[in-house]
Amino acid sequence: MTGQRATQLHATELLEAPAPTVRGPLRGIYAGNTRSVVVRGLQVMARTNWVVVLTGFFEPVFYLLSMGAGLGALIGTVEFYGVDVEYAAYIAPALMAVSAMNGAVYDSTMNVFFKMNFAKLYQQMLSTSLGPLDVALGEILLALFRGLLYACGFMVVTTLMGLNLSWTAVLAIPAALIVAFGFASFGMAITSYMKTFQHLDYVFFLMMPMFLLSATFFPIEVYPQGFQWVIQAMPLWHGVDMIRQLTTGLIQPSILMHLLYFAVMIVLGLWFTTARLRALFLR
């Protein structure tokens, strides 16, 4: 047994952990080390979660093949900002926005719920010099990375199918990340209120109509004016319209409004999530 030997605790020059240098209002909640949270997530994702990543990629592809190619043959074209667009090219950007939303929401609800309540991962992280904002940002970046994988994969498929009508379609990838960021930052805050897995059903109950009704498969002009406003208040509609403008090349001034919508959503979501993590773990 090694018990007789020195404990080796001084075998190397011991380093103390660097003191976090964050000043100002974020002091106490942010250590500027979000990277370590991301590294941990990538390491786990690389080994165990890649199957989940793969299934998330195929879902929109199957929708595109069935609705776009199948239904599209019956429908022909749909008018978008005064231009007739082939049906598959009309729904492809919407599916990309939906996939960004789904990936972000799945990661920030199901995965975060598990890590929070069963793996006690955040308690571990918050026993170190990390603050709640490091953890929240790290988890959100991981959700975004997954979203990036989905978006790139989907982009390859739509490009091969000839559904990207303009060079601006390349910008759909960062746009999808912005959509994912908005949803992920809010998803984590909402998850912090959940006590059982059943509560997660409410989230998916809300996402389903949003998915079906947010100008995903048809223009919202088919609705009465009042209902159009309801849809336009939802985040997914802004994501769908923004990405559709980019993949079709029919860019409107309204794209700035969409960006502003998500900017506000991201800031509010981050603030909300950090406040919740603080309330949960630093009470």
């Binding site: 080796q8 190397t12 942010y30 080390n33 308690q123 026993s127 990390l130």
Partner: protein
Amino acid sequence: MPAPVIEATGLTKRYGDFTAVDGIDFAIQPGEAFGFLGPNGAGKSTTMRMIAATSTRTSGDLSVLGFDPADHGPEIRAQLGIVPQADQLDEELRVIDNLIIYGRYFGLPVPYVKRRAEELLEFAQLTEKRRSRVDGLSGGMKRRLTIARGLINSPKAMLLDEPTTGLDPQARHVLWDRLFRLKEEGTTLVLTTHYMDEAEQLCDRLVVVDKGTIVAEGSPSSLIRQYSTREVLEVRFGSAHNEAASQAIEGIGSRVEVLPDRVLVYADDGEAAMSAVHERGLRPITSLVRRSSLEDVFLRLTGRSLIE
């Protein structure tokens, strides 16, 4: 005297109407092994969490490594090693990666963390389990890994919340040995326990806590001297007869305490007390003389046992 590592004055924590920690004062010196001894629910874990800045105090003053935990959480935790009551290991990572990733949470350089992780693995006697999954480790191994992990940032102080609860006797002794080595190397240890033998083994100084307040403070031996006699005579008459027998024993030794299953007679000379009991015509079913322990101190101070 050097400045205390941790100092509290009137430290209080309330959750709604419930007062978990009720105005306690203590000062922990560098290199000291300091214990909070008390039953479950005495407020020990809450105090530990306030020290680690993972819980905010309701009132009073608290200084940890010269910082106020209310707004310097990350700075304080950068210099602490935290071993929580339930092992919170990362089950999705292997044994060695638990150490490496944890070191990265502290912002330590990766090559250093990798080297250090190997040393700590050896310290925790887990080198053979290097690539194992965490959920396959025994309770003692998990606890040792948690302690090794808490050492990755070379902390100025280790906070150990009930370090050996739930471990079998052999695993406890292995763990005590490891903690003893840390103490020898000058690491400040702050631990909570409801085991009096653990407190006696590890603590230079301790406070006895009950219902959120400190009821006594001192070294294990000084507390025993102050609050108990040198020896204790334990006699059993059967649960129905203990009460009656204690009446007859009254007057022998300096104090008599009746527990549901036995009668304790506090006396500096236990054998003499035993003879005195026999002289009064009492015939206990079993009897034994032992030295006083912190358990007796706790009983004297609160009228209750530590483990209920």
